[in-house]
Amino acid sequence: MSAAPKGFEAVTSRTVVLPRTDIDTDQIIPARFLRTTTREGLGQQLFADWRYLADGSPNPDFVLNRPEAAGCRILVGGRNFGCGSSREHAPWALVDFGIQAVVSTEFADIFRANSLKNGLVPVIVDQATHAWLLANPGVEITVDLKTASVILPDGRSAPFPIDPFARYCLMQGVDQLGYLLSKNDEITAWEQRRAARGY
């Protein structure tokens, strides 16, 4: 985990669809895989309990194991994606697997914040667009950061909300830590006022 991920303006890919609602971070990466001190290689354990059978072989019924999922960089999930634990291992695992954007109608707050710091775009679309994407797995769409919109195969586009600062950081590959470090003087001034409280 060194500098910020490389910036990008858009991602175009076929979608892989996981229609389940409330996909929690224990499903995205189970806790037993968090006994690591690095962030590398977690893609192998992405959705481990759904993706692999008890003997460790791939579950042929799971959507990410199907041949048409190979190379997909946009995941469409059910509502309230990423609920539960704050583990950043969840976006690390998705990014390591090759996912660059997740589309849903709603994301859990911590997962959304973690994703934005790792070059993973959490895309919140309206119900109708979401329903269409769920019903049409494998279509090629574009998640465009420049216009903050999803472009569908027929050319229609659906806007998505994104914090302007986070969008700037994603597009430029800017590291938010650098911004915070630049505030050193203000932080020091606050620390002096804080110390004067006397407790």
């Binding site: 985990m1 929690d24 309990d49 309230n80 634990s85 976006p91 911590i110 600062f165 932080i187």
Partner: protein
């Protein structure tokens, strides 16, 4: 520094709690970039998630059996030594679950901003602190700058009036709230819990409520500080002492909101109508009263899958259903009053044949206090295992897991698929319900045994 149209607010953090699982990659960033840890004095480390609960492994008679866990523990020791952070290590008598020890040591205080790389940081909101979980990148931000970039959350008031009936607890209140507003009901919001029933709760109970705010999707949960809060904190080692204490309390008394404060949303609940609650599905919003049934039908799209995972039928009565494992512990329900509640049910009784029961205190100090009251003897005499403190079977990272297909009544916070072990079936409930279910070997209304 306030939020603008282009940039988020810069929020200073008064207390940064860290543990072995979500900090190593953040320490690596400091090393790679040649940065110092700005405020070691505002940082406190413990080890809890991947640590063993068997006495011989904790105190060095036997090695930690899971090598990757042992490595995480060693790495935290190295990191804290190198960056000057106080660490409550495996052998420390002050060690425990991060959200139990912060309050216990008095480090958690009203008005503080508190973060930790752990979603249950919401627990500390019970003291009128703004406390929330963060990811590891943000742990690195706090290490380097003691600050975070934040946008202003929305507000949700949850008012709980009325009096709880005997056998009904804070855990039942919060499960009922999650059942009412849903697991995403609090997304984007900070919840303030208020009302007569909340004011009547002890600090242990208030922590149980705020702990599970995140299970409703909320960014944080808070309870306004009052005399109960100050009485709890007074004299604790990290709390202000002497004249500083008086100044702090005077400040803390200015924190509660105005009576007419306006919230983005409001929800009400009558505590007097509640019965003990238990979950039947695979998220905490799938919950019902202990005398109730699994719903006959649901518009939740994962209803069928949840039933199939849990091995339940639609419309099935829950009481009397088989229980294999009982876990009393976790940052939700492992404090002394929780252990007392479980012990009150178990006293003079035995757990049912074939049931495994694990009692894991939230901290080493709680363990010691429980032993001084003889609670450990009650648990052992009943046939339960009495362990060293840690997160343990809440998430099974340390090897304390529930086997595939087995039913666990657990006082923890998440009943997600596989949370307590691959294929494990979790039913969330209060310590009273957990202990009563251990005695009968089936889901049991604790009021039948009180």
């Amino acid at each position: 520094m306030p939020q603008t149209s282009d940039t988020p607010a810069v929020l200073y953090i008064d207390l940064h709690l860290i543990h072995e699982v979500t900090s190593p990659q953040a320490f690596s960033v400091l090393r790679e970039r040649g940065l110092r840890l700005r405020r070691p004095d505002l940082t406190l480390a413990t080890m809890d998630h991947s640590t063993p609960t068997l006495t011989e492994q904790v105190f060095g008679g036997a090695p930690i059996t899971i090598e990757s866990a042992a490595k995480q523990v060693r790495q935290l020791e190295i990191n804290c030594a190198e960056f000057g952070v106080e660490l409550l290590d495996l052998a420390s008598d002050k060690r425990g679950i991060v959200h139990v020890i912060g309050p216990e040591l008095g480090a958690t205080q009203p008005g503080k901003t508190i973060v930790c790389g752990d979603s249950h940081t919401s627990t500390h909101g019970a003291f009128g602190a703004l406390a929330f979980g963060i990811g590891t990148t943000e742990v690195g931000h706090v290490f380097a700058t003691q600050c975070l970039l934040q946008s202003k959350p929305k507000t949700l008031a949850v008012t709980v009036d009325g009096r709880l009936a005997p056998g009904v607890t804070a855990k039942d209140i919060v499960l009922a709230i999650i059942g009412q507003i849903g697991v995403a009901g609090g997304t984007g919001h900070v919840i303030e819990f208020r009302g007569e029933a909340i004011r009547a709760l002890s600090m242990d109970e208030r922590m149980t409520i705020c702990n599970m705010s995140i299970e409703a999707g909320a960014r944080a949960g808070m309870i306004a500080p009052d005399e109960t809060t100050y009485a709890y904190l007074k004299g604790r080692p990290f709390a202000p002492q002497g004249e500083a204490w008086e100044r702090a309390v005077a400040d803390w008394k200015t924190l509660p909101g105005d009576p007419g404060a306006v919230f983005d949303r409001e929800v009400k609940l009558d505590a007097s109508t509640l019965e003990p609650m238990i979950t039947w599905g695979t998220h905490p919003g799938m919950v019902t009263g202990i005398t109730g049934t699994v719903p006959a039908a649901s518009d939740d799209p994962v209803f069928e899958r949840a039933l199939s995972y849990m091995g339940f039928e639609a419309g099935q009565k829950l009481a009397g259903s088989r229980v294999d494992v009982v876990f009393v512990g976790s940052c939700t329900n492992s404090r002394l009053t929780d252990l007392r509640a479980a012990a009150a049910v178990l006293k003079g009784r035995k757990i049912a044949r074939g049931v495994q029961m694990l009692v894991v205190p939230g901290s080493q100090q709680i363990k010691k206090a429980a032993e001084a009251e003889g609670l450990d003897q009650i648990f052992k005499a009943a046939g339960a295992e009495w362990r060293e403190s840690g997160c343990s079977m809440c998430l099974g990272m340390n090897g304390d897991t529930v086997e595939k297909g087995r039913y666990a009544v657990s006082t923890s916070n998440r009943n997600f698929e596989g949370r307590q072990g691959v294929g494990a079936r979790t039913l969330l409930a209060s310590p009273l319900t957990a202990a009563a279910s251990a005695v009968r070997g089936s889901i049991t209304d604790p009021r039948e045994l009180l």
